[in-house]
């Protein structure tokens, strides 16, 4: 099904890269590791395969809709099909270094790589206060030094 037309796949990738997480404006869903695969056939029908952070994430519908819209806008594309995959399972390892920096800088959000989570503001250690935070993919930590409340993205 995949064509050799790499330019088109690149165009579609570029378009998808403009779709941001609904809760983090400016952070691309590609950098969050949600994009798994793009396919395009000779009839210019596009299949976009995505991985949800969690199966019950309420943002899935909005994200799929946004992607469909931007891919439809790529010249030559005739049809778009966006699918959420059950495998592989999303982990925070899929988040790019750039997205981690932007999350820390613009949202005071840390990413849980291991048990030690640093404060995005002052780089001091934080303590977990609640495993469950404002959404399914976030815990709440507190910085020992600056007392900032930190949202921590986790898998």
């Amino acid at each position: 099904m995949t064509s050799n037309n790499s330019t088109s796949i690149q165009d579609i990738h570029t378009a998808i890269n403009t779709v941001n997480d609904p809760e983090y404006p400016g952070i691309s869903i590609v950098d969050l590791g949600l994009l798994e695969n793009i396919e395009i056939n000779t009839a210019y029908e596009v299949l976009v395969e995505l991985i949800p952070t969690f199966s019950g994430c309420p943002a899935l519908g909005v994200i799929a809709q946004d992607i469909e819209e931007v891919v439809r806008g790529v010249p030559g594309v005739k049809k778009v099909d966006v699918q959420w995959l059950n495998t592989p399972v999303w982990t925070v390892d899929r988040i790019t270094a750039k997205a981690k920096e932007d999350l820390a800088e613009n949202f005071t959000v840390a990413v849980q790589i291991n048990e030690r989570v640093e404060c995005p503001r002052c780089k001091s250690m934080t303590d977990k206060k609640s495993h469950f935070g404002p959404s399914r993919c976030r815990s709440i930590h507190l910085c020992r030094n600056c007392r900032e409340v930190i949202e921590v993205l986790r898998d």
Binding site: P52, F54, S55, G56, C57, P58, G61, L85, N86, T87, V89, K129, S130, H131, F132, G133, P134, S135, R136, D155
Partner: protein, 249 residues
């Protein structure tokens, strides 16, 4: 896709799991805004969200038509549901809701593991995802219960709640319509009811040996009859949907 294995009995079998997950998720979300403290409010919301996600994955597999799920789920007659009474009954006491959460999630991973070698590849991947999410559910239920059992008044409340909830859990483990067909075609590796002893061991390791009277299989619950609280719950579920059944969400 999978036409050979997804026969009507197998679909009915999977529907029981989807309906359990859906209603358990709904029950948890009923505590949003009214749970005894903020962390529990968020925990129940997140855990409920996972269960709804699991239900959605199963409904998608059964229906093979994602766009028709809302119509199917929200317009079904009560006799077409295959949920068990544990997830249909309303528990307004917090300790009963917590004990149900503990009991249900200590039984749920056992149920997903039955699909780890399924003849339906989609079920293998769905169960892998669900099992990962479930580890947090058990950890949460365990941590909270462990701490509360150290407080005499809390312990008394939890033990009383067990007397209400444990008999309902037996219904969760009762034979599931379509189960034999699902086993014979390799969709699932065994009977869920065979795993009841494992669950009981977990229960009694946590709470001590309980009155054996609690484990007498009550009526002949077979998932075709609804609990008297079902209509209330279903009303809550459909409340917004019925405002405009044709709306696209």
């Amino acid at each position: 896709m999978n036409d050979s294995v997804l026969t009507p009995p197998v679909k009915e079998y999977l529907l029981a799991f989807a309906d359990d997950e859906h209603l358990m998720g709904q029950q948890h979300t009923e505590w949003i805004g009214v749970a005894p403290f903020l962390e529990e409010d968020m925990a129940f919301a997140s855990i409920g969200q996972d269960e709804l996600g699991h239900a959605l994955m199963l409904y998608t597999l059964i229906l093979e038509c994602p766009s028709g799920i809302d119509t199917y789920v929200f317009n079904r007659k009560s006799e077409e549901w295959r949920s068990c009474q544990l997830v249909e009954s309303t528990h307004r006491r917090w300790e009963e809701a917590l004990i149900r959460h503990w009991c249900y999630d200590m039984a749920e991973d056992l149920r997903w593991e039955l699909f780890s070698d399924s003849s339906l590849p989609e079920l293998i991947s769905i169960s892998e995802r669900a099992l990962k999410e479930e580890t947090y559910h058990r950890r949460h239920a365990e941590a909270l219960v462990e701490n509360l059992l150290m407080v005499p008044d809390s312990k008394l409340r939890l033990m009383n709640a067990l007397e209400v909830v444990v008999p309902q859990v037996l219904g969760l483990f009762s034979p599931i319509p379509g189960e034999e067909e699902a086993i014979s075609c390799g969709v699932v590796s065994g009977k869920y009811s065979d795993l009841l002893p494992i669950w009981r061991t977990r229960l009694e390791e946590r709470f001590g040996v309980l009155d054996s009277g609690l484990f007498i299989q009550a009526d002949n619950e077979n998932r075709t009859q609804r609990h008297s609280d079902f209509d209330y719950l279903f009303g809550r579920i459909r409340e917004v949907f019925l405002l405009d059944p044709k709306a696209v969400w």
